[in-house]
Each structure stands twice: as C-alpha cells, then as structure tokens.
Symmetry: D3
Subunit: 341 residues, 6 copies
Amino acid sequence: MKKVVGFGDFLLRLNPEGYLRFSQADRMMTYYTGAEANVCVSLSTMGVKTEFVTRVPDNDIARAGLMQLRKYGVDVEHVVFGGERLGLFYVEKGASQRPSKVIYDRKYTSIATAKPADFCWDVLLQDAGWLHITGITPALGEHLPEICLEAMRTAREQGVAVSCDLNYRKKLWTSQQAGSVMGEILKYVDVLVANEEDCAKVLGICAPDTDVEAGKLSREGYISVARQVCQRFPNLRAVAITLRGSISASDNDWAAMLYTQGEAHFSRQYHVHIVDRVGGGDSFAAGLIYAMGHGFDAQRSIEFAAAASCLKHSMEQDYNLATVEEVLTLMDGDGSGRVQR
Amino acid sequence: MKKVVGFGDFLLRLNPEGYLRFSQADRMMTYYTGAEANVCVSLSTMGVKTEFVTRVPDNDIARAGLMQLRKYGVDVEHVVFGGERLGLFYVEKGASQRPSKVIYDRKYTSIATAKPADFCWDVLLQDAGWLHITGITPALGEHLPEICLEAMRTAREQGVAVSCDLNYRKKLWTSQQAGSVMGEILKYVDVLVANEEDCAKVLGICAPDTDVEAGKLSREGYISVARQVCQRFPNLRAVAITLRGSISASDNDWAAMLYTQGEAHFSRQYHVHIVDRVGGGDSFAAGLIYAMGHGFDAQRSIEFAAAASCLKHSMEQDYNLATVEEVLTLMDGDGSGRVQR
Amino acid sequence: MKKVVGFGDFLLRLNPEGYLRFSQADRMMTYYTGAEANVCVSLSTMGVKTEFVTRVPDNDIARAGLMQLRKYGVDVEHVVFGGERLGLFYVEKGASQRPSKVIYDRKYTSIATAKPADFCWDVLLQDAGWLHITGITPALGEHLPEICLEAMRTAREQGVAVSCDLNYRKKLWTSQQAGSVMGEILKYVDVLVANEEDCAKVLGICAPDTDVEAGKLSREGYISVARQVCQRFPNLRAVAITLRGSISASDNDWAAMLYTQGEAHFSRQYHVHIVDRVGGGDSFAAGLIYAMGHGFDAQRSIEFAAAASCLKHSMEQDYNLATVEEVLTLMDGDGSGRVQR
Amino acid sequence: MKKVVGFGDFLLRLNPEGYLRFSQADRMMTYYTGAEANVCVSLSTMGVKTEFVTRVPDNDIARAGLMQLRKYGVDVEHVVFGGERLGLFYVEKGASQRPSKVIYDRKYTSIATAKPADFCWDVLLQDAGWLHITGITPALGEHLPEICLEAMRTAREQGVAVSCDLNYRKKLWTSQQAGSVMGEILKYVDVLVANEEDCAKVLGICAPDTDVEAGKLSREGYISVARQVCQRFPNLRAVAITLRGSISASDNDWAAMLYTQGEAHFSRQYHVHIVDRVGGGDSFAAGLIYAMGHGFDAQRSIEFAAAASCLKHSMEQDYNLATVEEVLTLMDGDGSGRVQR
Amino acid sequence: MKKVVGFGDFLLRLNPEGYLRFSQADRMMTYYTGAEANVCVSLSTMGVKTEFVTRVPDNDIARAGLMQLRKYGVDVEHVVFGGERLGLFYVEKGASQRPSKVIYDRKYTSIATAKPADFCWDVLLQDAGWLHITGITPALGEHLPEICLEAMRTAREQGVAVSCDLNYRKKLWTSQQAGSVMGEILKYVDVLVANEEDCAKVLGICAPDTDVEAGKLSREGYISVARQVCQRFPNLRAVAITLRGSISASDNDWAAMLYTQGEAHFSRQYHVHIVDRVGGGDSFAAGLIYAMGHGFDAQRSIEFAAAASCLKHSMEQDYNLATVEEVLTLMDGDGSGRVQR
Amino acid sequence: MKKVVGFGDFLLRLNPEGYLRFSQADRMMTYYTGAEANVCVSLSTMGVKTEFVTRVPDNDIARAGLMQLRKYGVDVEHVVFGGERLGLFYVEKGASQRPSKVIYDRKYTSIATAKPADFCWDVLLQDAGWLHITGITPALGEHLPEICLEAMRTAREQGVAVSCDLNYRKKLWTSQQAGSVMGEILKYVDVLVANEEDCAKVLGICAPDTDVEAGKLSREGYISVARQVCQRFPNLRAVAITLRGSISASDNDWAAMLYTQGEAHFSRQYHVHIVDRVGGGDSFAAGLIYAMGHGFDAQRSIEFAAAASCLKHSMEQDYNLATVEEVLTLMDGDGSGRVQR
C-alpha cells in the first residue's frame, strides 16, 4: 500500500522501572511516543512506508526522539523544527488492583504553538495514500483544529484516505469543545476508530441501557452506537470500536468490532496478561489501516486489528513491534505462546 | 487524627532484582524497613502525622535508613543512636509454585541490645494519639518485653490508644515465650491484628475443626477465634484477622474480618496478582488504624484496611504507598485497574 | 548416587531484560547453558556429583562459561579446548499471546567440529554411574553421531546407565537424519525422555487420533506412544513423556508420564505462571535421573521430576536451582507458595 | 546557627547513565534539584536547619521531588502548590575534551507563574537567620523580581542575613535585564557569591587585562573586581569569587577568594578529578554560609567553602552530601583520599 | 557533499558494564558496529548522506543492528540478506595498566561468505560521491578481495572518490596476504588512512630507526613513511597517519599527520582521558572524509579529523556522535570542557 | 606449586553502583570476599591449586558466597558450617579528594564464634604446600589466636610454608593486643607482608625520621624497618613492604620492596588510575606467593607482586583476576595499555 502519514503530538515518555511508584524511582525509562507516531511505527514494522509529521524544538532531546522513529523505519524528513519544548508524560505502571497513572506535561510545546503556515499539506501528502490523526491532535493548541482540517481537506482533494481515532482526553478539552471540533473533522474521515467511552463523550452517542464505566456494553449496544455514528457521518466507510474488559491492571479482555456497509463484525476475544497497555489503541488503529489498506475483508480486517493490538499488550513501550507474520500467526492460530525456535 | 507512634525493629532489606535466586544475583535492591516503620510510612502517606522510635548504630547505613523514613514523612527525631549494628534480612522473591524466601540477620542489633533507659516514653508519647507495636518487638532482646510494657503503661496513662499486630516469628522465640510475654502486653492493647496462625501459636486459641496450614478456617472459625480472644482480653476494643488464601506465590486471595462489640464484619475478598507481598500485614494494620482513627464504622474500617493492604501487594518494597484517595477508589469501585490519566 | 556425566553443546545465552524485544534492547543478560549442562547444574544443586564434557575455544568467554558451571558445582576438568568459537543463542522472552523467540548461532563451533579423538570415554566415564545426552548433541556436527555412539558403547561396557532426551531440533537436522541416527543411539539407552512432538518427528511413532500441535494428546495416546517406543527399543527401562499445555506464553499446564515395566504413571498437573520456561525439559530430565538414581518408585519418580521442572518455570535462566528439599516440599505439599522465613 | 531559607526554582534533572549521549540512552537518572535547593541540602547535611520555598504543581512528580528534599532534611512545609508544571533539565555528562551539555525546559512552570500573594514572607522568615537566593530566581518569571525584593525587604526588617549567588543564565534574560534587576536586589545582600563571568556579564565590572573565557584572570584581577563590587554596593559584608580552571571536562582546578573588610583571602587550590560538576557553585555558597554562620574567620571561611565544593565534584548529582567533618578533614589534611575504615 | 558509501563487516559488539572483566559480568551492553559502519554513522551525524553496504543473515538480531544504523541516519536499503550468521565481538574495557581485550567471533558470517553476485556496484554507487573501505573487508572471506576490487573499479569508472583505512588485523590474515591484496586495492585509492603499525605490517614500509611497538616514531619518521607510500602508489591524493601515544589504558596522547602534495601537516596533539577508544580510528577517517569532501585545506583537514577522533574517545560505543559544530568548537577552541548550557 | 590454603574471614561486600554515596543508593553490588579468600582467588586465577577455610552459617547467602569462590576455582570443600551469621561490610567508593568509606558489620559471625575443634588442621593441610593468613584472622574472636597458632604449628610440622599479611585493623583490636598475639604468630611465619603502618602499629618498629601518615618513609626507612623485623623474627625468610603513595582517591603511586637474605629489592613504581583499590594488598600477597612458590629470584618476585597488585587496582571488586601472562606482560612491558585483539 502507499505511504501512510501520521500527524500529531510527539512526547518523551518517562516511566520508572518495573512496578515502582514515582516516589520510589531514581531512574526512568525514556521513550519517544505519540498516538500517531505509534501508528506509524506499527505500520512501518509491518512493512508499510510511513511518515510522521509534527513540530519539535531544535534540541538534542527532540532529535533523539526523531532518531528513535527513524530506527523503526518512520520517515521524519518533514518534521518542523521550532517552538520551545517537547511535551512529555510520566507513566507509573499499575498492577493488579492498582491502576496505571499518567501525568501529562504537554502544554506550551512546539506542536501546541504550531501555526498553519508550518505545514504545507500539498507537499506532505504528495506520495501518501492514507492520513491518520487522532482526537488528541486538534485538542493540542489554538491553531490545531484549523491545521487538522486543512490536512483533511488536502487529503480529500488528493484522494488520500483518512482515518481518525476519537481518543477523547478530558484534560485537553471539554466534551463540548471536542464535540464541536471533531464534528467538523469527522466529515472528512473514511475510517473511524473509537473505544467504549469516546462516542458518548465526544459525539453524545450512546446505546440504550449502557454503563460505560463498567464496560458492560452489550453486543447490541456497540452495534447501535456504530450505526448511529454512521448515520450522522455518512462519509464514514467503517467504524471500529475496541472492547476492553478491565479485569485488573494486570489482566484484560480485549476484542473489537468493525461496522461497515451496515454490518457488524466482531473479532475473537483475547484474555491478555498485560506487560504494558499504553499504545493499545494505537496498535489497533495501525492493524486496521494495514488490513483495510491491503484489501482484507471486513471479518479478517477486524481480526487482524484485534490480534495486532492483543500482541501490543505483551510488549514494553507504546510501540507495537509485531510483524505481519506474527499477527497472522496469532489470528489464525491458538495463541498458545509456544517458543519459536 | 493525632500522631501515631511506632516502636520496633529497623532493618536493611536486601533482595535480588526480579525473580533471581540469591546465588544468581550480583546486586541487590536495598530498602530500610521494619513492621512498625512500615505502618508509619503507610499512615504518613495517608496524611497522618507519624513518628518511628527505634535504636540504630551511629553509622551511614543507619542514617541512610532514617533518611528514607524521613522521605516518606515519618519523623525520626527521637531515634536513639547506640549499639553496634543494624539488622538486615534478605528476600528472594518467589513466583508460581516457588515460595519467597527470607533470611534474617537481626541478632545483636542496636535495638536488640537496647535498655529501658534508652527510651523516655513520657516524652516519646507526648503528642501522640496512638501507639503501634507488633509481636516482633518484644521478641528482639532481653530487655524488650520490659521496654514494651513500659511504653504501653505510659500510653494508657496518657490516654494513647494502643494497637498490636501479633506477628509471631518462630525464629525469634518459642510459642511458650511469646504466649507469656504477649499475654502481658495484650492487657494494654485496644486493637489487635492477627493473621491466621498467630492466635493459635501465641495464644493457643483455635477454632474447632481447623487446619491452619491449609488456610481452611471457615467464617465461623474466624469468628470463634476472635470471640475467644476478646473474652480473654476484655480490654480489646476490636480484633482484626486477615484471611490470606495462598493460591501460589504469584496469586493470593485476600480479605479480612473485624470483630468488635460482639459482631463480626467481613471485607470483600480480592484476588491479587502479587508484585511483592512482604509488608502486606503491616499495610493492613495501617489501614485499620487510619480507619478507626478517623471514626469509620466497623464495616468501612475493615473494607478500608483490606483495600489498603490489597493495594500494597501491587507495589515493590515493604511500604504501602497508597493514598487515602486510592484506597477509597478501590473499596468503593470495581478494582478494574483502568489507567488514570 | 555415583557421578552423572553430561555431554553436549555449551552456548552463551543472550536475552534482553524483562520483556523487551531484540530491537528495543541495548543490553542483554548473559548466561552459559546447554541442554546437558543444565541437567548437570540441576543435579549438582540436588547434591549429586556431576561432570560436564564438551569442547570449547580457548578464550575468556568460554572460560567464563566454564566458571559459571563450576560455580554451580559441575566439574569441568575434562572439557576439551580447541576449535574456533562458542555457540550462542538469543532469547526474546514472550508474554501472553506473544511467543518467546529463540535465534541460534551454533554452527562451526568447537563442539560441532570435534573429532572422536578429542574424547577418551574410558577416562571420562571412569567414576561415572550415569551418562546423559540429548538428541541435540549428535545433530551438532559431522563426527558427533560417532562420538555419541562411542560414549554409549563405553557406558554399556562400564555398567554406566544412559539417559537420553530426544529433543528434536528441526533447524539442526531433518526428521529422516534424526530418525536414522537416534535409532542407533537409542539401542544403548536405559531411560528415554521426550516431549509431545519428539516421538512423532524422530521415531515416527504417533498415537491414533493425535493433534500434536494443539497438545491435545489424550492420556491413552501418551500411553500408546510409550508402549510402541518400548516395543521398538526393548533395552529401554523407562520412557518419560512431558505434557505441556500451552495456555499462553505466560501460563502453562505442566505434567508428565512415566512408562516403565508396562505400566504408565501420571504425575499431578501444575498450573505454572512462567518466569522463564527455557530449560524446562532439562530440569525434568534431571529430576527423573535424581529420582531413579535414588531408587524412588515409579510414581514418586515421575512426581519428583514433574515438581522439579514445575519449579524451574519460576526461575530466570535455563538452570533449575531447586534443592531436593524444595522439590519434595512441592510434590508432597500444596504448592501454595507461602513465604519461607 | 538559625534556620537558612532558600527560595528558588525546583526542577527534575534527567541524565543518561555514565557518559552516554542523549541519543544513546534508553533510561535516565532522575533527581530533583535547583540552585537554592542544593544549598539547603548541603547545609542540612552539615547539620543546619533549612527550609526550601518554591511553587510546584499538585502532582506526584512534584511530590516525589519534595520527598527527596525531605529525605535530606530540608523542610518543605511551606512549599506552595499551584500552577501547571515542574521545570526540568537534561544533563549529558561530558568527559575529556567533550563538554557537558545542559538542555533546560523551565518555562511556564509553577514557580515562573508565581504571584507575590503566593508567598507570605513574614511567616516564611519567622524563625530564619539567613535567606539565600541566586540570580536565577528573579529571572524565572514576570513577578519574580518583585517577589524576590519583597523577600529581601522582609529579611532586612527581621534581621535575617541575605546571601546571593549571581549565577547569570543567558538563556533566561539579557545582561541588561539582569543588571537592572540584580542591581536592585544586591542592595539588600550581605554576602555575594559570583563566578568568573558573572560580575562582568551582570554588573559590567571587569578587571583590567581580563580574558574571562580563558579563565585567565590574575589574582590582582579578582581582587580588583571584588573591590569594585563592594564600592558599588557598600551594604555587602563580603564578596566571594570562585576560581575554576577548566583543564578538561574531566579535570578542573578549583579555588576561591573571599573579599571582606577590604582584604582578599585566597583558598588553597585543588586539582579535582570530576565525577559530576553540576552543583559545584551551590556547594560553595552552602559552605560559605555555614562557615560565616558559625563565625569562622575569613581565611577559614573561604577554605571551608572551597573544600566543601571541592568534595562536591567527587559526587554524583547536584547535591553536596559532605558532612562538616569531611570538609574539615580535607581542608586541614592532605586530600590524599585514603580509605576510611 | 554527495553520498558516502561504506562497505564492510557488521558485527554485534558485546561488552560488560563499566570495567568488569568477562567472568564478572552477568549482562553485556549490545551495540552493532563495524569499521565502515562507524564511518558512516559519524558522517551521518555530521549531516552527510551515507549508505552502508554489507550482507547479514535474515534474522531479528541483524535487523536490530540495521535499525540502529538507520537510527543514526545511515541508509541500509541495499544491505543484502543471506548467509547464516552475524559476526560478533566481545570487548572488555581496560583501565590504567590493564589493556582492553577484544575477542572476535567473525568467521562464517554472512559477509564472509558473500559472493560477487551479491553486490551490484553500478547500482550501489549510483548517487555516491565517495566510497570507503578498510583493510578488514578484503580479509573477511574468500571472495572479498574480488568484491572489493570490483567496487573500486566501479568507483573509478563513476568518478567516485575512494578512501581506505589500512587497518591490519593479524587474526584475519598474514602480512603477506594483506600485502598482496592491499597492494592491488591501493591502486584505486585516493585517500589512505593508516595507524603507526599498518604501513610496516602490510606494505613493509618503515622509517629508519623505528620502534613501532613503543610508538616512538619521530616526526621525520612519519613523513618518511608517508612519502614512500605515495611513491609506491602515485594515485594517492593524500596519506593520513594517526599518532597514538599510549600512556595507559585510561590516558592517551592523540594527534595525526596528513601528507599531501609532497607536504606533511601535523595536527595539534590532544591528551585524552578515555571513555571508550574502540572506533577511534574510524572516527578519524570520517573526520578526514568530511573535511576533504567539504574542501577544507590540508591543515584544517587534519585538524578536523584529529579533533573529531579526539571527541570520539570521550564517548561510549564505537560511534562518533560529534556534530560538525562540536568538532569545530574543539579544534578552534581550548578544549577546556566547560558546561554548555 | 602445591596447594595454597587460606584461612580467615569471609564477608558479603555491599557497595553502591559507581560513585553514589550510601544515602543515594537504592541498590548495591554484592560480592563475597575476605583477605585470605582474595589471595586464594588471585592464586587460583594464576593456575595455582587453592583451598579456602572458614566457618559460615548454614544459609543460602553463605552458600552463594562459597559458590562464587568455587567459580573462581577455589576449593571450599572443608568450609565449616555453623554459627549464626555471615559478616558483611559496606563500601562507598571515593573519588578525587573524597576518600572511600568502609563500614564493617563483622561481629558475632560464624568465624568469630569458631572453636578450635571446628578445624582439624592435620586434614586441612594434608596436600598443602603453603598456608596464608592475615592479621585480621586472629583478631576476629576469642578462640581465633589459638586456632591460628594451631594451624601454624601444624604447618611447621608438615613442612608447609607460611605467609602472613600483618593487616592491622584498629577496629578489631588494640595495638597492644595485636602486638602480643602477632608476636607469637610471627614465630611460625616464613614470609611477612606489611604495609607502611602495620610494622609501627603492631610491632612498634619504626624507621628514624618517619612520618607514616604522610607516607613519606624514605627508601632507607623501609629497609631499616625490614631489617629490624627480621632481627626480631629470625625465622622470616623474607619481608615485603608495599609502598602506596596516595595522591587522591582516584590516583595512587604503587610500588613495593622485598627484603630477603639481608638485601632489599625495590620494584618499579606504577602510577595507577584507580577502579577499585580494595583488595590491593591481598593481590600483592598472592603475587608474592606465586613468585616465591615458583622460584622467581628476589627482584623478579617483587616485580611480579607489584605488577599483579598494580593490575588489581584496575578491576572492580576485591579479587585480582589477572592471569600470569597479564602480570608478566605488564612487568616486562611498558604498561601502555594497548588494546589486545
């Protein structure tokens, strides 16, 4: 498939080793991530040409981050240098009944202060076949909604498919703000990804009899939500919803549904013993883009995306480093985890 | 609530990284702990003023230990310097069917050779509202029973509540010795904490049809034990018993019972996937002291204590670094371990 | 029991810390292992005198490896120095649905280029009571089948018992090659160890209605396989088959069967939460050798071997560092993993 | 001596292990520092009562930082919570001809957005005998000059001695801005600390024939600078200038001069083999405050300050953890570094 | 300047942490290096477009290595997959009087078994302006001399400049073999780099009165050697010789000479306190290529190359991660290693 | 040469990583050492058969320590199990002007409470050719002088050579006690090793005009001391004195003198850049035993011992892991630390 372009935030992730709490740590692991960057890394690992677009300060920390993307095969040629700081976030990994904790420090960053003139979308999307953003990007700064819309309009003009992961972050904006901006953006989207809460919080679309917090949406509930979303945004080719069952911080159930052409397709459900769940949603989006970009049918598409993100949960960091072969082995196999010699 | 004073042993804890056995390790993690110190740290993390009293040698290792307590907000102003050594213990963390292993080296320590004149309880308990010791402290050295009793008598005189965790350690003394000394000490105790085996080993109080080793005490059995204890020590306001179901070194069931005013209150049961279970009992005692010191009713008290110690199992080290908010979220919520952003 | 001699490959094992993938690691843990060396270490830890025979290059890395064996009590006095390189393999530890990955780099090694004249079996087996090899050893190089057969003939002459773990490795040779060579070797073997696939791949012996990949062999199937093997090789005193149920890379069921004197004995089944499963089979062989070498009856022998290898899964590295006492405690106890203070 | 209060920035320091460059690191050491906080830690380690005043966001990272100060005995009771972020900086440790590199990310922090009303200096200086700030603090944000001046006026009113380390940071403000603000602040200062460049850049005071960059100021030059400073600010009781001779990033010469009552006193010069030089100036200020606060004469004061900061260079982190005894041993001894058993 | 292509070996480097000896280490740092790969990384860090050509096995370890090159900006698009193994070497870092130790395991590797047909030099050199190899490459395997010569002939045809670092390795071939092969190769070389011993061992060219081992070649001796080399290979545009003065494993003197157009130019001499000296020669070659490729005059070229490699000695790993700005700062400055804030 | 037996203390050594102070460390490196054990490890590394005799508690920590000795080839077959604890000590590594700090916790250990009946010297010295102890051993406990004397008398009876390192430790006993006990022991000693202070403190033997603290003993002074010692103990075959010049905690001068048959032989002097100097004296004793045991002449003996201990300073831990070849290379070479490929 043609190049996939991701556009969004880029942050330094800091987390204590193992299960130490912040106050116990005298060192932290350092990675460079971001929702759309993660999607690019996953796709690149699957052999797809990708490019990540963002804006970072002109210093060695930002450059180290770009190097890491380049390592995993993501092109960063058109990253814009400027602004004052790279965002960052701290992750304290949870276990058992103790939830993971994330502290963001992503204001006043180079991307948050970006201006429309920083990005020349005609050029950026030149060889692209697919553009991916998440609901985080337009929430980052004053000009970001405008920049995102310009990107999407250019994509439509150039025949570039667009996917969007709703990814609502309540610390970045309110439901109202998100609903208003995303309502515009979604008009340009072909494939929408959302988790259980996003549709309710951003679009105000719920299923009857839903208790989102408890993750107790029924099969019918998910289908109902997807149908409503497609009705409101008829441009959507497909809506994918991830279904996380949080048993504890160490164990989750994980499955997903793809709603397309009026039909709902549910993936197999996985019981995952979690190594690191940050980036789980991004790996799902990447898997879905891969599958749809390679012409998988709907059922295989959702199985591929679910299996890809299932594997992500077994890896440290935000990146999904699963190859296509590994994903296919899982989705077509028994997930028994036998040693591969 | 007023200041809680803990009095007891203070040791360097050494453990290999991860699941390495002693012979495989070329470095060990170093923490400074002790049953009552752990209680102080947990309470301090919950916002309670605490002070820890012990006796340590005048060297940089002991000082590093006191600094660690100070870091977590525990006052160590009245720690006595003297004697020759800081005790220590080695922990080899178990997994699955392999049990954790603990090797103690706690003889001839500064606390073990303490004399009554080392501690001026009038001063030490001046601003205190609560005194906590465990059954380990009087077992440490020749003069410790006397010192503990003096502490407790002073507490009674000054209206300071007293809690005691039976904590029987067969390597420190025999059942007979423990029974004789603890029988005296318990006369001054308001709140007693015990695990499944302590009451049988120290007080000779069992339920009918009990197989303690197998942890197969029935609900009725626990109530019977608590009732007998309260009959023998009518000064006891409450008896709390922790109920650990050891599935393996990696997975435990965990619950607790509070017996007070002739009624038994059982907490919800948690299935914990263990990060480090050392300090589990101490975190329970701290949770109980917090709840009772803040006037929680019996049911919420035992729920709070059980939830607090449930969270402890998800943390490295002996300390429970759960905040009041985290404990309440667990006891009032679903323990699903969702990421907190 | 008398000295056990192991003969086989010796490799440097490299694996990233924790659950990092190869591309994420900037350091790797280094151990020195090998199927037969692992058996020696386990037996040595159980108090049995052992010696390991191999051929390694004359350099500091090989010497560091031998030092590690010596640390665990394995005699390496007769290791032959020569050749050009020590083999190595890389292990990426899997988790949940992601399988562990092993990359071998074991060609052209000192052992692979060994010649019959390198080993004087009369001397090597002088004080030995037992010789152990695996199906890996004859597959390593041109002269290895011959060397192995010479070892076994000498063993028979000197009244040394011989055990063999079939251990088929498809990257080293084909089923045909393995079948032909192992068919000769097995004529000298007293105790045969195999896992689910080995008998089918090497000896072409299957049970009716078997799906080896899925690990769905029935009890009857295992018995049938063992019976057929014993019929073909009447010299076999006993055939042991390990039964691994791969739930995921993190969780396995584990049990084993011993077939001897026409009777099948099944061990208890363990649910293991895996720390590191490499070396699981070797620890089973060691447990079995210990039990049979100490005259345990058939049922206790298979229980001992299964419990020993169950414990291995809870340890890092390939070595089983469980003592006899620890194994007995597990096989006679409840596996509840209570802390040992 | 009475309590010393420090007021200023508080940052998370991140640095790769050892001599790795930023792009090579996948983890960083994490400490919490700040010029005035470092002074407090050093004084506290020397047994002086200290308190650190700053403004930090209400999150677990900031709290972990305050815990670290508390560990080293610094009171943080009056730290103000508010604002959005904790500042941070990245340090890449240099060696030989490669200089250390520092990247700051300290804008928009809680302290930078502080308002005068956040600090009630009457209360904050109640039990204090000494107030210490650096030239970094007034440069941090819009209201900081005003806040600093208010602190100093209150100090003068309450008879609290004031020390100031010029500490010019060209990334925070221009020479002009610094000169104007510091010119006001210095009117309230009793003891001034400066390094070779500060006086020239901030106060425009140079010695004749100076090449500051090359560190080639003559003895007479230093005296001339100090004399001029004292003439402009007659309130100054003493001016101390540190004399660093940068041989390489691994080796420095280090000495200092104290100018007081019209006389210049030079310390002995040390050749230091550097472990970590960040915090060197702060440790000098702390040593000087200790010496002057304890009534040392001028020569012993500058010897003490120079020896204290010499020792700092042999320690990791920004903190000087040298005790008074260690400093005296060095200044009165031969610095031969014999093992202390 | 146009793209620089490097061709040669690619190996996994393993070294214990810090100064541990091999037998003390239970983990090793892992990097992926090679003489020509190092040159590419250094040039890429300086902003030059580079590509590295080699042959590696098709496995995750080799791919992790290529990812690391890609991270540092080196194009690896035309790396050939095939063969059985990636070479590796173990480094034990020396200190003071204890020399570093290197153990190679680089036989039978994918590059050693490469065939001429694996590399299509017309394509590989298409956009290149410079080709760099070392004397290691033709020594690696049977067909490597032929492959190298083909590369060089193609380079000459396409007007690509060629540099070669003699880099004699006595474990790979004899002086005779090296002399014969390199004698052919040097006919195509424009710029030759050599250290003190190479010219004597490979070309049999010595200065009168030389004691190479002791590094006591005089200025005149170096000039004499360079002159003789240029006389034998009149195609050489320039000969550069590095001058290492080994004081100890921790301290070296370092300088270099460039002989071109009949004139010798000596760089300034640096006293380096060593962090890691492996890769020192490669960083010199990279610096020289950069300088000559950018039209620096002879004196500035040799100063640039010497300063670049001086900085390399202050970095961990084989790579020189110095930027052009850093090199210029050193060569034009005083090397005093002041902190860069 | 025949087996060398060492007898003495055996301790766990704990030290923070790198140059961290005790209060900064959350993990410590763990090794198992002891003066005589170190001598055995060094000799074993040089190919000499060695056995170490001590008494340790019957627990996994002690066993891990013995495993480590076994790893380095030291026989521990006759180590006695009993008593309560393994001694330990904490090392904080110094740098530059900051001295290393050692905190001992070696009282009440298994060796300190040993009784004469624990050691059957007839058996222990059966195949031995040499017995080595230090002045630490008799200072450890009540019965140790007696045990040592019995060992030495047995040695004399069986024709076993005896060496002793005076090694005065003021924390273990007074000069008077040491003088009295060592005066007896030295009557049985053939080779005496001492550092600059030992002779004065233990034997009261000084040179005229000596300032021991400053290490300013003249050549003549050293000779005078050795001569006096030999006069008092005519049984001494040789007296070796190490000459450490402490420039700083990072840099030392190191040389030694051997006085034998009325002649003094001085070794070459080394300037050592220190990695870890603990164990420096032990490595010297080992080098001397090796040289004298292999019949080196006096000059080569002292050169060998000095070179061996010079190399020790470049290694982490207490052990000298230098081979005979490495020592000879240094003593016969230039110590330039060139890489050994």
